[in-house]
Amino acid sequence: MNIADAIAVFFICLGCFFFMTGAIGILRFPDFYTRMHATGKSDTLAVLLCLCGLAIHHGLCLDSFKLLLIAVFVFFANPTGTHSICRAAFRCGVKPWTKKENTP
């Protein structure tokens, strides 16, 4: 295993860790908006890290650039999707979970 592969493995593992935090966040967080925090942020970074790791593993060729292209697409698309669906919920009047009401 050479050094590029080591870096790739590190990146992919880090990405998987952030996928895990996102998944646990979806499971645990109390309401819609807080769950959006979990998906919107962690998934973006996790995809970015995984795809960068795979691109490093694949070496310098056209496919690596395509991988980075997907990463860039997700980097812009994911926060936009998060915003748009949060906005829809906000305008439909989905009540946010607040600390005061739920903890004595």
């Binding site: 646990i24 998906t39 997907i70």
Partner: protein, 88 residues
């Protein structure tokens, strides 16, 4: 390296389970949409890993790019629908 990729694939499949739980149980419809979006993001990475496993990277990259576009489109469409309906 292949066994590592296989392990990551399995791990991501495992990570889909919590999202699936949220998609099935989720108290509101919009929760389900979010969970489906999250599953889509994980699927995108799994598709590329499968490309590496089958050694047909170029093909699977094209597929996953389309998947990314459609995932984004689905989220926007759901948001637009809920906004026009005005209730969830």
């Amino acid at each position: 390296m292949n066994s590592f990729f296989l392990g990551i694939c399995l791990f991501l499949c495992l990570m889909i389970l919590p999202c699936l739980y949220r998609a099935i149980v989720g108290p509101t419809v919009i929760d389900r949409m979010v969970a489906v979006g999250a599953i889509g993001t994980k699927t995108l990475v799994i598709l590329i890993l499968m490309g590496f496993l089958y050694e047909r990277v170029a093909m699977f990259i094209d597929i996953s790019m389309v998947y990314a576009i459609l995932n984004f489109l689905g989220t926007l469409a759901a948001a637009r629908y809920f906004e026009m309906e005005g209730e969830i």
